[in-house]
Symmetry: C2
Subunit: 240 residues, 2 copies
DNA sequence: AGACCAAATATGGTCAGACCATACATCGAA
DNA sequence: TTCGATGTATGGTCTGACCATATTTGGTCT
């Protein structure tokens, strides 16, 4: 930079105040989020194409794409190539993927411990078991998983249906947020759960636990359901 | 496409099998995640520069950037411009931002209802209050928030310290996952909470609730703490 | 009229290369 | 030794091109 190019005093230090200059893709994010809030866009609606968005918002297509990548990561849009009514960026709502990735990466970085994940799962399942006992819903799904666990081909299949049973309890609560969190926890715990089953060797105690939980929910006995869940998870994942 | 360009039968239908061709940035993601898992990268470690990554992985810089954008969204990397030891993409761990955005956008898309968010918050706080009563930690922070709520300048400030009180309870559980979720819920609920306080008009009942919760935790009375939390949230956010 | 097939086209996915703004590193002059 | 100009590596952005895919379009043959 030569002396002549130097900006005059006074014109420098723009935005010396607090927050940094927003990046282009962040502006795009804000705009799209604004459309969702103001125009009431909902799941199924389509966004303009990447090229059109770039022109509308006066940014490059790269910046538009980075913004869309963020939205895709958050499970809010899904992009389809090709042509036609289904092509382009469509608004969706799948918080699950984001939660799963979040847990997986943070477990990898050792920022979260498996203990914390298990404890959180216990919290959700106890809460959900109480709800399920009061509403007595989802019993069919639970029974199906129970039956499937009776004759597993191996630890993998047992855990698969075991997880289905536990997820069914949470789904019965009717709360999509806790369900999404539970599914994310499930994905993070699966590998760990198989090891735990192999270590135990015998699944009969676990199945007896499941049947106690199921019976309590069926009978509308919330307190028993909650404590049965606690007993079960303490057996499957003993503290320390 | 002319007839001559047409691929010969048999060479067509590559990857007709199940999953689609991974996008370039997904390969990058997988590689970086592999490094984290295999090489034991942890918070504070730096990734190679974008240009170097692009060359190493044989993709364009755009694809590298999209992958980094995903990781940034998940709260796993943070990029700094400039030069020096702090510049470049650094591994971090802030699941909070991702969770917050996730909730905000899904609330905007009306996929999640405020009721579900409130119920989830109730679940976490009851659980955390029980833990806090058993461990009797975080009392100082709670007391500070309590005192600050006694003489608020307005609903905004009251809610600010109210939230600090509730977050302190969850932090006392020592579980970083539930804490992260709670903080994300807080950000989503803040606006809603201010409206609720304005509607109530009087914060004395709320403060009395807080003091009951605090006393129960201080005295190690888990059952009372749990029920006091339920009473409080039912008052602040009455069901229907 | 209908069925079928080839071309046109709109979409996201990728790439290469350039330039800018920023912030540290380096080195020379006072 | 100190301070300031210059160098340089970094992320951020833009442009323009090409590819792969899937629908739409329109013509041709039956």
């Amino acid at each position: 930079m030569t002396v002549d190019d130097r900006p005059e005093p006074g014109t420098v230090r723009r935005r010396a105040s607090g927050r940094p200059r927003p990046r282009a893709f962040e502006e795009v994010l804000a705009r799209i989020e604004g459309w969702i809030a103001a125009d009431g866009l909902t799941v199924g609606d389509r966004l303009p194409g990447e090229r059109q968005l770039a022109e509308q918002l006066q940014v490059s297509r790269s910046s538009v794409r980075e913004a869309l990548r963020v939205l895709e990561t958050l499970g809010v849009v899904s992009s389809q190539v090709g042509r036609g009514p289904d092509a382009g960026a469509v608004l969706t709502s799948r918080p699950g993927g984001a939660l799963t990735g979040l847990l997986r990466l943070n477990l990898g970085l050792a920022t979260l411990s498996m203990r914390e994940v298990i404890d959180t799962r216990l919290m959700i399942e106890q809460w959900a078991a109480g709800h399920a006992a009061r509403s007595r819903t989802g019993l069919d799904e639970m029974a199906r998983a129970l039956a499937a666990m009776d004759d597993p081909s191996g630890p993998e299949e047992f855990v698969e249906h075991d997880i289905a049973f536990h997820v069914a309890i949470v789904e019965a609560s009717g709360n999509r947020l806790t369900s999404a969190i539970m599914r994310a926890l499930r994905d993070s715990v699966q590998r760990f759960a198989i090891d735990a089953v192999v270590r135990l060797g015998d699944t009969r105690d676990l199945q007896a636990d499941h049947r106690r939980i199921y019976a309590a929910i069926r009978d509308g006995d919330a307190a028993t359901a909650v404590s049965a869940v606690a007993v079960h998870l303490a057996r499957a994942y003993p503290p320390d």
